[in-house]
Symmetry: none
C-alpha cells in the first residue's frame, strides 16, 4: 500500500497518514504516525497540523492521539453521491430489513475486495458487524461471492492457488470456489455459511447495471442461530427480489449468460 510515484510528494504522504489513521481503532500518537508512514517526526507533525486546520484529522488533547476528522468523513461520503445505486437502493434495503428482520448490507467491488457502501441495521440485539467503508475479501463473504459470480471466468482465474482461510469453513481451493460460483449463478444468490466469521451466515444477490455488469450486491446477514437452514432459501429469495427491484430502479438488466457448460437456467 505504499505511495507510488506521485506527482505531488506531500499528497502521497498525507494520504498515507490518513489511511493509517483510518485503520486504527483508537487513534495514533505522533510517533506512531511518523513510523507508520516512514517520515520524520517534524514532517509528520507539519502534515498533521495542516490536515487538522481543514478538519481532516482531529487531535484529542486528552489522549494526545490523532484520528480521522469530520471533514474527511463528509468529503469521503461524497463518493456515495456519484454512486446513484446507493441512494436508489436505500428504500428497498429498508423494506428488506423489515420483511426479514435481518441487517441488510450493500457492497461494491473495488480492487479485489468488497467495500460496504450501504447498510440498514436490524433491531435485534445480536447483529452483524459490517462497517460502512469496511473491506471484506471476495472469496469468503456473501456479497463478495455474489459479485464474483457475476464476473466472467477470465478475470477470477488469476486467483492464488490457495485462498486465505478466515474460518475452518472458508473455501480455500479455487476449484471449490469456482463450483460454488456456478451454484450461485444457478440459484441466483450466494450463501456464506460461517466462511468469514464463526456464527455468521448471510445470503447475497447481485445487482446488475445497464451493461449487465455487476454494480453491487445486497446481502442479509445474521447469526447462524437465527438464519436457520430452512430460512436460507426464503431469505435468499428475498435478497434476489430486492436486488431485482434495485436493478429495475437503476435501469439494469441481467447479463446474457455465455457459459458453455451446463450451468442450466
Amino acid at each position: 500500500m505504499g505511495a507510488a510515484q506521485n506527482p505531488v510528494q506531500v499528497l502521497g504522504r498525507a494520504i498515507a497518514i490518513l489511511n493509517h489513521l483510518a485503520q486504527s481503532d483508537s487513534g495514533l500518537s505522533l510517533t506512531e504516525v511518523a513510523r507508520a508512514a516512514g517520515l520524520a517526526g517534524s514532517t509528520a507533525h507539519r502534515i498533521l497540523t495542516s490536515l487538522e486546520a481543514e478538519r481532516y484529522v482531529r487531535f484529542d488533547a486528552e489522549t494526545r492521539l490523532w484520528s480521522v476528522g469530520v471533514q474527511a468523513f463528509i468529503a469521503g461520503s461524497g463518493f456515495l453521491k456519484t454512486r446513484h445505486v446507493v441512494q436508489m437502493a436505500r428504500p428497498h434495503m429498508r423494506t428488506l430489513m423489515e420483511r426479514s428482520g435481518e441487517t441488510v448490507n450493500l457492497a461494491i467491488e473495488d480492487q479485489g475486495s468488497a467495500v460496504y457502501v450501504g447498510q440498514v441495521e436490524c433491531r435485534e440485539m445480536m447483529r452483524s458487524f459490517a462497517r460502512l467503508g469496511g473491506r471484506i475479501p471476495l472469496h469468503c463473504s456473501g456479497v463478495g461471492k455474489a459479485l464474483l459470480s457475476a464476473v466472467p471466468e477470465a478475470q477470477w482465474q488469476r486467483l492464488p492457488s490457495l485462498l486465505p482461510a478466515l474460518t475452518p469453513l472458508t473455501l480455500t481451493s479455487p476449484d471449490v470456489l469456482r463450483a460454488d460460483l456456478g451454484r450461485i449463478r444457478q440459484r441466483g444468490y450466494a450463501i456464506d455459511d460461517e466462511e468469514h466469521a464463526i456464527g455468521l451466515r448471510c445470503v447475497a444477490a447481485v445487482v446488475f447495471d445497464e451493461h449487465g455488469d455487476a454494480a453491487c450486491a445486497v446481502s442479509l446477514a445474521g447469526p447462524k442461530a437465527r438464519i436457520t437452514d430452512e430460512r436460507v432459501p426464503v431469505l435468499g429469495q428475498m435478497a434476489v427480489e430486492t436486488a431485482g427491484r434495485i436493478m429495475a430502479e437503476i435501469g439494469g438488466r441481467a447479463p446474457v449468460i455465455v457459459s458453455a457448460s451446463g450451468a442450466g437456467q
Copy 2:
C-alpha cells in the same frame, strides 16, 4: 470555506478540491475544479492526478468528470470508529449551559425509553435531577419527545392507547402526542411543561446522525419559576443551535422530510 493559513500549501489546495468535488452531485470538469479552487489549470490537474493515484478521486473517462474516489470514502469512514457523540458534544453542552444558565442533558433512545448519557449541571441551587444512565419515558420528557419527533410515524403507531401519566399534565392520548410531535418538528424543539414532574420544564432538540436518523437529543431543564413562558422560545432556539453544532461535529445531517401532510419546513 477558503483554505486558511496552512503550514502546507498543497494540502490546503487538495482538500479544497476534494471538498468541492464532494459537494457536486455528478462530478466536475478540470476547469470547473480549477475555477472553484482558484488555481491554474495545470496546478489543479497535477493535484487531481496525484489524488487519483491514491484513489481519492476518480476520473470518468466517458464524461471527463472528476469525482470523489473510493479510498476517500474508506478513509473518511474511519471517522466513525473514533466518534463518540457524548465526548464531542460535551464542549458544546458546556457553552450552552453558560449561555442559558440551566442544566444541559444529552440522551439517546434505547428500547422504548430515553437514557441520559451526558450532563453539564448549572450552578443554581435549584436544579434538575436527571441522573446519568437514568431512564425516562419517551412520551413525557423533552428529550424523549424530541427523539420521537424524529422517528417516522410507522414506528410509534404501535403505542398503547393510553400512555401512563406521571403528572396531571402528561399527554396520555396518542393523538394529542402525535399532534405535539408535529409541532415539535415544525418549531425544531420539544417543550416539556411539567409533563414528567411537577415544577419541571424543559426544551429539547434532536441531533441527527449521518443517515438523518436521530442520534441523540440535547435538553435544557429547570424549574418552571426560572424557565418562564417568555424564555421558552429563547432557550428552545439555543438548544436547536447547540444541536446543530453537535451535528456538524459528528458529521450528521438533517433528514429529508418525506411527510405528505402539511408538516411544512
